[in-house]
């Protein structure tokens, strides 16, 4: 079951380009505006003066170097998961396991940073190695779903969803048990968290200042985004992904290794999720705790879904959701508007864009 089953065997003879650029751009903007409008109405309905809520939102989102940096860091996580999603989706696979892949990435990054003997290594290896290990582990976690899909035919929506829940509770277990990642129990009240990772394993800040704590995660993500864009548009892998996504049987018949393409696609998606987890841990949280993944995997999934296959779509949606959350936090603090409002806006955007997508595509095809 592919998330984007082609409605017709033969719609896309209009160029893909026009479909990807024209449609989501204009329409997504309209959807965002409408959602914000509804949000404003709700604010008014709750009796909060707009004159208070809007400035709070804006200052929270864009008001300081810190706010912008925090939003950018968050968007990196969303974007990585989203990039993985669209890549796998090109092969007809729907990876809804971002949350679990983040959790696994966090677990492994913590383990390596704390116990991998990386502290003290030269050349940035202390922070690079945990990231690589987390990437690999996330890849394996995603790859499991790929193997199941390729070998047993298990629907990957289902397996990745289940793997997510399993990973989240695995993380719970890891920080509960002293034999695993829990910090040494100095007193009987030691919290069930990992110890803080050493400073050398934390991601360097681009500016070097906590006032604008953008980590090197941002440039890494941008490089990966470009890479994914090139892979999808121009590479042999991109071609194989598309072929397998559109018709696995015919692809197999023509000599494309379908099983390994599927596993690879899921591996990459999982790896990007794992990397996102490492960045959440090494970039900001520094200790692993239950609830570490914070639902970012699901946000990243929604980002990927909204992007409808395009890398620029992923980046825009990731930025939108990241800044939306920053604004929401400030709005609650300064204007007393519950952050639940952000969820309403987010949900509306998702529904409107998803709802209109096929309809617009359809109208264009029959025009």
């Amino acid at each position: 079951m592919s998330a984007e089953a082609p409605p017709l065997p033969a719609t896309p003879w209009r160029s893909n380009l026009s479909r990807l650029t024209r449609l989501p751009g204009v329409f997504a903007l309209a959807a965002v505006l409408v959602a914000f409008l509804v949000g404003l109405l709700l604010v008014v309905a709750m009796g909060v003066p707009l004159g208070k809520a809007i400035p709070a939102f804006l200052s929270g989102a864009f008001g300081s170097g810190y706010a912008i940096s925090a939003s950018l860091n968050r968007s990196v996580v969303f974007a990585l998961v989203g990039l993985g999603f669209i890549l796998a989706n090109r092969a007809g696979l729907t990876n809804v396991g971002g949350e679990g892949q983040i959790a696994i990435g966090g677990i492994v990054a913590t383990a390596v940073a704390l116990y991998g003997g990386v502290d003290g290594l030269p050349l940035g290896l202390p922070f690079i190695l945990p990231m690589l290990a987390a990437t690999l582990a996330g890849g394996v976690w995603g790859g499991i779903a790929g193997v199941l899909r390729a070998r047993v035919g298990t629907n990957e929506v289902i397996s990745t969803l289940l793997l997510s829940f399993i990973a989240v509770w695995l993380l719970y277990w890891c920080v509960q048990s002293e034999h695993l990642l829990r910090q040494p129990m100095t007193t009987s009240a030691t919290l069930p968290e990992s110890a803080e990772i050493p400073h050398s394993t934390q991601l360097p800040l681009l500016t070097g200042s906590y006032a604008t704590p953008v980590t090197i995660g941002l440039p890494i993500m941008i490089v990966l985004a470009i890479l994914v864009a090139v892979v999808l548009a121009r590479s042999g892998l991109g071609f194989r992904l598309r072929a397998v996504g559109l018709n696995p049987v015919a692809s197999a018949r023509a000599g494309i290794r379908v099983a390994s393409t599927i596993v690879l696609a899921m591996f990459i998606a999982g790896a990007l999720g794992g990397l996102a987890g490492a960045m959440m841990l090494q970039g900001e949280q520094y200790t692993l705790k239950t609830g570490f993944s914070s639902g970012y995997g699901f946000d990243g999934l929604v980002v990927g879904l909204l992007a409808r296959g395009s890398v620029s779509g992923v980046l825009s949606a990731a930025l939108l959701f990241a800044f939306l959350r920053s604004g929401g936090i400030a709005m609650e603090m300064s204007a007393g508007v519950p952050t639940a409002l952000v969820m309403v806006i987010q949900g509306l955007i998702v529904i409107m864009i998803a709802g209109a997508a096929y309809w617009l595509e359809r109208r264009e095809a029959s025009a």
Binding site: Y66, A67, Q176, A189, T190, K289, M333, S334
Partner: protein, 302 residues
């Protein structure tokens, strides 16, 4: 017309829901009490329901605009210590904070000491139980909660060595259905007085007790007389500690460092009240509390 005094700016981060009927709400109650007390003298910014990934940002924003920042709950501790380093001029208080290895000059940790009062609650439960069986339901299996459970059992056995004691952890302070089933399971074993460290999950325990005619010892705040289901209350001063932080900051006596609350800080911080208890009961409980303070009875931390 007096000169306009700059109000003390207080930022408070409640990681869970301020309406959880438990820990978080208790902390929020403390804030409301302080607001009533000080009126315009304090200005408050509050945020609730914050997950780990957003906690640093929320704390940073609170720290950027306030002189005192309070984190309600041990789960804010790691984040507070991180952010506090970046805002040396801002005071931070962690309610439910533990001892840490390296103290910061601008962070105070207030230890709630739930295990102490749980021991006393166990003693009270043993006195109130008719069946000779009591039970405890905790949310997450974290040390303070587990230790409190253990001490509740110890307290019960202190009064009645043969008492049966059942404990359970639902994995979620707010899961109503699970805490109901956990309580029902204990009732099936004969338990007739229940203690808990739960938030919204308490509703489930109430429902079970109501259906089966058993009784509950409440936590956090004294509500004696409002609900016949509750035969006693243990006071755990989460709200008191929020007030304490604000009081101290307003008075200019705020101090960094670890501070154990519990029984040592008096009945507002920690106490045990049996709603329709006999004088002997009250006497006995008082004695136990004194023994704990004197170190004659030692209890786990948390």
């Amino acid at each position: 017309p007096s000169y306009a005094e700059e109000p003390l700016k207080v930022g408070i981060l409640i990681p869970g829901s301020k309406t959880d009927h438990g820990w978080m709400e208790s902390g929020y109650d403390g804030l409301v009490a302080a607001q009533t007390k000080y009126g315009d003298k304090i200005a408050v910014q509050m945020i609730e329901n914050i997950n780990y990934a957003d906690m640093d940002q929320a704390l940073t924003q609170l720290a950027s605009g306030n002189g005192l920042v309070i984190g309600v709950g041990g789960q804010t501790q790691a984040s507070v210590y991180k952010i506090a380093k970046r805002f040396p001029e801002v005071k931070f208080s962690v309610v439910g904070g533990n001892k840490v290895e390296e103290d910061l000059p601008n962070v105070a940790g207030y230890d709630v000491k739930q295990a102490e009062i749980a021991f006393v609650a166990g003693a009270a439960a043993a006195m109130l139980s008719k069946n000779g069986a009591v039970s405890y339901v905790g949310g997450l299996e974290i040390p303070s909660i587990v230790n409190a459970g253990a001490e509740f059992g110890n307290g019960a056995r202190y009064i009645n060595p043969d008492i049966k004691y059942f404990e359970n952890y639902t994995g979620d302070f707010d899961d109503v259905a699970k805490s109901k089933e956990a309580t029902l399971a204990a009732i099936a074993q004969g338990a007739d007085v229940h203690y808990h460290i739960l938030n919204l999950g308490l509703r489930g325990m109430e429902q079970a007790a109501k259906e089966k005619g058993t009784h509950i010892i409440g936590s956090y705040t004294d509500y004696c007389g409002t609900d016949p289901l509750y035969v006693a209350y243990s006071i755990t001063g989460v709200g008191y500690q929020v007030q304490y932080a604000i009081d101290q900051a307003v008075a200019g006596t705020w101090e960094a460092g670890y501070k154990p609350f519990g029984l040592a800080m008096g009945p507002q911080a920690s106490d045990m009240i049996v709603c329709e208890g006999t004088p002997e009961m009250a006497e006995k409980l008082k004695a136990i509390m004194q023994d704990i303070l004197d170190g004659k009875i030692t209890v786990l931390e948390g």
